[in-house]
């Protein structure tokens, strides 16, 4: 196989053995200093150039010319670009000879390439850790090459923890290694602050309950020492009564503890869920873009559920048992310290055994979960894909796949249960051993009669031991549980701590009704660093003008309308409305003035009336009808059995595509925005519906600044101007006729292609009939 690379770790060779002060082991490697856009170049390397070099931008890559993890610097002083280190010959090129600086995506890494007239020069290969830094570098080099002023981004979110150097789960995230559990616990407990009184009450019940539970074994002692030896026979009723009272009080307090805790735990979790939901609404769309929605829903539901479990069951358990553990220990030592030592003897074994048991069980649980998941997948595939399975005649294979997964699950299941049983067995033996020891030593002591240990003390010990050992074996389980709950809490806090969208740069300008003059000024934008989707775009849309965006999918049209809605902010450049940068405008006030009709309009589960009114719940019914009529929706709504009260179902599922579209248009008309964004559906509807939608759109567009992603011929014709977008840049603009006249134009080509497709479709229809 592979040759072992021996001694490559500094802490193994001991040459550079450095453990950071204040950080616990394991901390094997001194982290590299962070990569910035002006990373200092080691003088020895810069010296290789043989001339003074004063970089304006310098980034360190992490792979050398042989593909090994190493270091390479790419830098520019404004005149030349150099690549130093990396075990290859330095590259040193005048910027003026470059025709392009680009990033090639490789498998699991990327490289920065300078293109000149005579070839490609690889400036650096870098791992995925440095994508953002090199994207910024590439853009900076392009700016320098074209003689534009150098505009570096204000900051790049860190990929490694600035404190401990660990790779972060995602850029800008909090470092899990530097996160303190107590900090999270404190924050979690901070959520209890509004319910202080209840917490104090809970503590009172818990303490009282533990105190009461301490009494009965003492009464055993009293009965044995004072009553049974015949000295005070009249006291029997007193001690038995006390025993009964203590039992009752303990039970009542336990009930009250759980009673108040049920409320508190559920309260905190409900608060957190509300906080999380509210925050999810305000998150920047970039967050939603980067994370699957499922993950967020999971966070809202399952993580809070995990937390609830712990807060309701775990916390009181912990509280009560720590209290009783401490008090019993104190009582035992006071009663007789020699016997107490015997009781404590099995404790380390119980605790360590419990911990060891969990170490074994945790991966088993994990495996168990994975295998159940696998079984679920197979099962649901078999059911949903039954037709495909049958038609490919693969029933046998599905059966054997299911059987295989089922058997595996069976195996783990047996493993989990057997481990549990083995653990309980061992633990009872340990506890029994403690009891046996105490009886033996106590019995001998009583027989010898010299140690002062009486029958009463022995009975009290036996009573306390039952209370003492029981909870111990679960201590590690609860700690494990706490870890999971804290992990869940951490994930929740991570969402809560995300930046809110729509923060203005200075004081927010609250616009009155805008005129709708929209300008793109050298806008650049990327969803992921390194993949620019809008590349320095300029566009001017006059108030009331209708602009149709045309281009292939992925050209950047949707991104442009997302920028106008300010779902995202440009990386550089700006989107300006009536002379004001969107980032200075009050976000909610701006969004209220932008109407959006999406390609697949989203309807909320409610009536048609509620949906049309969604943006303006106080609108009179008459206005709703007027809007529906303008949107050519009134007729079909009126014809429905429930009229405007028709419930549209989940996502509007009870309406047809064309109906949904028109309800959405009615919603936009009622909203009456000065600026309209229209994302036309590509799917074809029958020609009558098509005509109605066109009429509805015509009514909607009237008098508003409109930016439309246009697919339909009618929309293209109606637009005052068409803007052809390709690869994040505007390549053509003009009216429909003007663009068609450009024989070799992008638009003319797109239309020819479209006509061809339509012709084929038409033939298909004929053939079908």
């Amino acid at each position: 196989m592979h040759a072992r690379v021996a001694g490559t770790f500094p802490w193994r060779t001991g040459v550079a053995h450095r453990i950071l002060p204040g950080r616990p082991w394991p901390f094997p490697v001194q982290p590299d200093p962070p990569v910035t856009l002006l990373t200092p170049i080691p003088p020895a390397l810069a010296g290789a150039l043989g001339r003074p070099f004063d970089p304006v931008v310098a980034v360190r890559g992490d792979l050398d010319a042989h593909g090994r993890f190493g270091e390479v610097w790419v830098a520019s002083d404004g005149d030349r670009v150099v690549s130093l280190g990396g075990l290859a010959d330095p590259v040193d090129l005048p910027l003026s000879t470059l025709t392009e600086v680009r990033i090639d995506e490789l498998f699991g890494a990327s490289r920065l390439v300078a293109v000149t007239g005579d070839g490609h020069h690889v400036l650096a290969v870098f791992s995925r850790n440095l994508v953002s830094e090199f994207a910024a570098l590439a853009r900076a080099l392009e700016d320098l090459r074209e003689g534009r002023p150098l505009l570096l981004p204000d900051r790049i979110e860190a990929a490694t923890c600035p404190r401990c150097g660990a790779p972060l789960p995602e850029r800008g995230a909090t470092c899990p290694r530097c996160l303190s559990r107590t900090g999270i616990l404190r924050r979690l407990l901070g959520l209890l602050r509004p319910y202080r009184l209840r917490v104090i009450l809970l503590m009172v019940w818990a303490t009282l309950g533990v105190g009461a539970a301490m009494v009965p074994p003492l009464t055993y002692k009293m009965i044995a020492d004072r009553v049974l030896d015949g000295a005070h026979p009249e006291e029997l009723l007193l001690w038995v009564g006390l025993m009964l009272g203590a039992f009752l009080l303990s039970a009542v307090c336990q009930f009250l503890t759980n009673w108040s805790n049920a409320w508190l735990g559920a309260r905190v979790v409900a608060d957190m869920r509300a906080l999380l939901h509210a925050r999810a609404q305000k998150l920047q769309l970039t967050y939603h873009h980067r994370h699957e929605s499922g993950a967020l829903v999971g966070r809202v539901m399952s993580d809070t559920g995990e937390l609830q479990h712990f807060l309701i069951d775990g916390m009181p358990y912990f509280l009560v048992n720590v209290l009783s553990f401490v008090s019993i220990s104190v009582i035992l030592v006071t009663l007789d310290w020699r016997l107490a030592i015997l009781v404590f003897l099995p404790v380390p074994v119980l605790v360590l055994g419990g911990a060891g048991f969990w170490r074994v069980l945790r991966p088993l649980f994990h495996k168990h979960g994975n295998r159940i998941g696998r079984l679920h997948t197979i099962l649901s595939e078999s059911i949903h894909g039954v037709q495909a399975v049958k038609s490919l005649a693969q029933e046998r294979r599905r059966e054997s796949e299911f059987e295989g997964a089922n058997e595996q699950l069976f195996g783990v299941h047996v493993g989990v249960d057997r481990t549990f049983q083995a653990f309980f067995g061992t633990m009872s033996v340990m506890m029994a051993l403690g009891t046996v020891l105490v009886w033996y030593a106590g019995g001998r002591a009583i027989l010898e009669g010299t140690t002062g240990i009486g029958l009463g003390t022995l009975l009290a010990f036996v009573g306390y031991m039952a209370l003492f050992y029981g909870p111990l074996q679960w201590f590690s389980a609860v700690l494990n549980w706490a870890t999971n709950a804290l992990t869940a809490a951490e994930r929740i806090f991570a969402v809560i701590d995300q930046p809110e969208e729509g923060l203005t740069r200075g004081p927010a300008v609250a616009p009155g009704r805008v005129r709708g003059h929209i300008r793109f000024e050298r806008v650049r934008f990327s969803y992921e660093r390194g993949r620019e989707v809008i590349r320095g775009m300029d566009l001017d849309v006059a108030p009331g003008e209708m602009v149709g965006l045309v281009g292939k999918s992925g050209a950047g049209k949707s991104t442009m309308i997302n920028l106008v809605s300010r779902f995202y902010d440009p990386d550089s450049g700006s989107v300006v409305v009536d002379g004001v940068d969107l980032r200075d405008l009050d976000l909610a006030a701006w969004r209220r003035q932008v109407g959006v009709v999406a390609q697949t309009p989203f309807l909320f589960n409610g009536s048609i009336l509620e949906n049309i009114r969604y943006g303006d719940p106080d609108a009179s019914f008459e206005r709703v009808v007027a809007a529906a009529r303008a949107a050519r929706a009134h007729d079909f709504i009126a014809a429905k059995e429930d009229g405007y009260d028709t419930v549209v179902g989940d996502g509007g599922s009870t309406l047809s595509g064309g109906e949904r579209q028109r309800v959405a248009i009615a919603r936009a008309i009622l909203h009456d925005p000065p600026v309209l964004i229209l994302d036309e559906a590509t799917s074809s509807v029958d020609s009558e519906t098509e005509q109605q939608i066109q009429e509805a759109i015509a009514a909607l567009v009237e008098g508003r600044t409109t930016i439309a992603i246009a697919h339909r011929l009618a929309t293209l014709r109606n637009a005052d101007r068409l803007v052809v977008v390709e690869d994040g840049a505007i390549v053509e603009q003009g009216s429909h006729e003007e663009l068609l006249a450009l024989d070799d134009g992008h638009f003319a080509r797109l239309v020819r292609l479209q006509t061809e497709i339509n012709r084929l479709r038409a033939e298909q229809v004929v053939w079908k009939e």
Partner: protein, 161 residues
């Protein structure tokens, strides 16, 4: 058409390296710049496809053997440069913190410290002992044969995955 045979192009020759780029000479036509990729980069790195700068297929080969011996090193070099997939040779430690697993490993490219999340999604098991990991930044790591690792490494992995 005779069935669906002929998934692969016939033998290919005429590859050249110019200015760090790969070109294919075509008789009676201009040379075309090509990039080479594996068709099954995860499960079997054998079959190759050559793409022109627009991403259109130029040729698909069953393996390096379909190339003249003299041209193979060119392609091997190009593949080595494209597929940055580090083979894990030793696992020194795996730490779990709040659901993030930190791996300290030694690879054929040198030592590395990386973070892994959601192993269900980011660990691909090619077979029972062959797996590919994707760290939180998107870098790939490969363990070709779990059983060939030393016992300590195997124990860390078994405990974590």
């Amino acid at each position: 058409m005779e069935g669906i045979a002929g998934g692969f192009s016939g033998a290919l020759s005429g590859l050249q390296r110019r200015n760090g780029r790969l070109f294919l000479e075509r008789p009676g036509d201009d040379a075309v710049e090509v990039t080479v990729r594996y068709l099954r980069p995860l499960t079997a790195r054998t079959e190759l496809v050559f793409l022109d700068p627009k991403g259109q297929e130029v040729a698909t080969l069953p393996g390096l053997d379909a190339l003249p011996e003299a041209e193979r090193p060119l392609v091997e070099e190009a593949l080595r440069q494209r597929y940055i997939l580090s083979a894990i040779l030793r696992v020194d430690r795996i730490d779990v913190r709040f659901g993030t697993r930190y791996w300290w490993v030694d690879t054929d490219r040198g030592p590395r410290w990386f973070a892994l999340r959601e192993p269900g999604r980011n660990v691909t098991w090619i077979s029972g002992s062959h797996l590919i990991l994707r760290d939180t930044a998107g870098n790939r790591f490969e363990i070709r044969d779990l059983t060939s690792l030393d016992r300590r490494s195997q124990r860390w992995i078994a405990r974590s995955l």
